[in-house]
């Protein structure tokens, strides 16, 4: 009996020791988990050997030249970033509104990165940050930053170079407009597509058929649509003079309103206000392919002699141009959408490529303001050509001669064109 009791006591003692040891292990593990995954204090535990060396906070500041609601956190990478068994997986950025408060993860950055932009801040609220370096074995925290607030800035100083380039081009434009208004004649080279406008309208007049004008499928907040509508003014004036019919289906209500005003003014300018009708411009639908289906139907039923496609186009470009081609219409297209230009080039008689569309309105109107603007843009192109040739030459010489100073100089000038 005594023997049994002593064995039970020994057994219970051993079991208790095992349980206590197990409990201690579990508590230690729990404590480490807490510290590794959701720890909010820094420096309260000794870094286990298997954790990465933490990144060091570098700069935490209000993001420069923005509209507020953003703070940029920068850090020096962990020595374990990209090295050895503690290789860093990522950096987590944690934020709190008080230094001793609860920190929450606001984002993460891949290893090798040293900056994170927290674009979820409220202006005027003070935030504290730290960076946690994560490896496969856990995370190690950097020191906590000083309090920082986000705020909006009036000027985006990062785009100062763009501002200066814009000023130079604007100055050139104003200079040429001034001289154009003084009566100076400027030379403009011929653009094939524009030379054909009168011919295309004349053909429609002779055939007694209508002219279809498509201003693209974007709204008036696209400069291509604005350019298309500007050309419409000149086209509509000729149409009014020739007494031909124009049909203009549109996919945007504001474009419809603007186009009606433009055509009305053109008819007034041509001395035929009575011939104008609001029905010349009509809305179909905003839906891209619904619009195309309807335009295709109009084409095959009315068989216009001339089709103009001037504006911003997307996947509908080839569908419309091919249908226009199938009915034997003269087609003049113009867009600055690089992906659609090939289709217009393939299916239309004349295509205004990119900037030719914008030049077209100046070319057709002959107004001093538009001519001066075009000449000013040419100055911008000359500057671009000189910069490209000059800097390419400079880099090549620096490459061949291994000149660090020359390379630094070239880098500085090239940096002027690194618009954000």
């Amino acid at each position: 009996m005594e023997l049994l009791r002593s064995r039970i006591i020994i057994g219970i003692t051993l079991l208790s020791m095992v349980l206590m040891f197990g409990s201690a292990l579990a508590q230690d593990a729990d404590k480490r988990d807490v510290l590794d995954s959701t720890a909010v204090r820094v420096g309260t535990f000794k870094k286990p050997v298997n954790l990465p060396i933490p990144a060091q906070l570098d700069v935490v500041e209000d993001s420069e030249g923005d509209a507020g609601s953003s703070i940029t956190v920068s850090w020096l990478p962990s020595p374990d970033d990209g090295a050895g068994k503690n290789n860093v997986i990522e950096y987590q950025i944690l934020r709190s509104e008080s230094q001793d408060g609860e920190y929450v993860i606001v984002g993460s950055a891949s290893r090798g990165m040293t900056q994170f932009q927290d674009a979820t801040t409220t202006d005027g609220v003070t935030y504290f940050y730290y960076v946690r370096t994560i490896s496969k074995d856990g995370g190690a925290n950097s020191q906590i930053s000083a309090g920082i607030q986000s705020s909006p800035q009036w000027f985006n100083t990062k785009d100062l170079d763009t501002f200066i380039i814009g000023l130079i081009i604007c100055a050139a434009v104003i200079y040429f407009i001034y001289h154009a208004q003084k009566g100076k004649k400027f030379f403009l080279r011929q653009i094939a597509g524009l030379e054909a406008v009168d011919e295309a309208i004349g053909r429609a007049t002779e055939m007694g058929r209508s002219i279809l004008f498509i201003p693209g499928i974007n709204d008036m907040d696209d400069v291509q649509t604005v350019a298309g509508i500007t050309i419409l003014g000149r086209v509509a004036k000729t149409i009014a003079e020739y007494d031909t019919k124009i049909n203009m289906p549109v996919s945007r209500s504001i474009v419809m309103t603007t186009a009606r005003e433009t055509i009305k003014q053109a008819y007034v300018a041509a001395g035929r206000p009575d011939a104008y009708s609001d029905d010349m411009v009509h809305y179909l639908t905003d839906e891209q392919f619904g619009y195309v289906a309807a335009v295709d139907g109009i084409m095959v039923r009315e068989k216009p002699a001339t089709c103009f496609y001037l504006g911003a186009f997307f996947a509908e470009s080839l569908i419309m141009a091919e249908t226009g081609n199938s009915i034997g219409a003269i087609q003049i297209a113009g867009t600055a959408m690089p992906a659609q230009l090939p289709f217009f080039v393939a299916a239309c008689d004349y295509t205004l490529i990119g900037e030719e569309l914008f030049a077209a309105s100046a070319y057709l109107s002959g107004e001093p303001k538009q001519l001066g603007s075009l000449k000013g843009q040419d100055v911008g192109k000359i500057i671009a050509m000189i910069v490209i040739l000059g800097l390419c030459g400079l880099y090549t010489v620096a490459s061949i001669s291994d000149s660090v100073s020359l390379l630094d100089f070239a880098d500085k000038i090239k940096g002027l064109f690194s618009a954000s």
Partner: protein, 228 residues
């Protein structure tokens, strides 16, 4: 046999639109009218809820309420947008229809001004930046002596430089395309056409995938789905 009305309507409309490839026909006209009518209605509803309600009313109404409580909120500026919208509708009254030109002028002018920066950056400044490359060696933005270029990189850099430069010459409007200048413009035209050719082929392939998607719908969803 499994009958799914939605799939049958989809098949009917798909075949109706495709029938246009043969010629204009009543089936296509029906599909066209349905497409235009439904999409126009959908867009009206969509614009009403996404613009008029969520952008104007939801921003303006709390600001007006706050105004009655003596607070002036930034969102009161939406009142300007609302007034401009009403001015646009005044064209429905012929006597004062001219007022609708003011918001139009604002839209067009603001568009030109705002897009100026976007176009200058994306079509000008960034293009220049990416074209500045050494003809005989790549240079990192961080500076330092560049490594020796491979032959392929060198040829690529030369093509980028010539293509961009001659392209700019082509779009230069102040000088006749004659002589050396005309020759450079001709080279620029070749670069443009080669680019268009590559883009054409690429886009046609993506359109083929759209066609395959429609055929897949007709064969699998419609025919196999219905008749097993």
């Amino acid at each position: 046999m499994h009958f799914d009305l939605g799939v049958w309507i989809g098949a009917f409309l798909t075949l109706g639109i495709i029938s246009f490839l043969y010629k204009d026909n009543p089936w296509y006209k029906i599909c066209e009218a349905i497409f235009v009518g439904i999409s126009a209605g959908y867009w009206i509803a969509s614009l009403f809820w996404q613009n008029l309600v969520s952008k104007l009313y939801d921003n303006l109404a709390p600001a007006i309420v706050a105004l009655f409580h003596g607070q002036i909120q930034y969102n009161l500026l939406y009142l300007v947008a609302g007034i401009l919208g009403i001015m646009m509708l005044l064209r429905l009254i012929p006597q004062i229809g001219w007022i609708s030109r003011w918001p139009l002028a604002l839209v067009v002018g603001a568009t030109a001004g705002l897009q100026f920066i976007n176009y200058l950056v994306s079509n000008g400044v960034k293009q220049i930046y990416n074209t500045i490359v050494p003809v005989f060696g790549p240079v990192s933005d961080a500076g330092g002596i560049p490594p020796v270029a491979t032959t392929g990189e060198g040829i690529g850099n030369v093509i980028i430089l010539i293509g961009t430069f001659t392209g700019l010459v082509y779009f230069f409007f102040s000088k006749e395309h004659k002589g050396l200048f005309g020759g450079a413009a001709k080279v620029g035209t070749w670069f443009l056409m080669i680019t268009f050719g590559a883009s054409f082929g690429y886009t046609v392939m993506s359109r083929m995938s759209l066609l395959i998607g429609r055929i897949d719908f007709l064969v699998n969803d419609w025919i196999r789905g219905t008749f097993g």
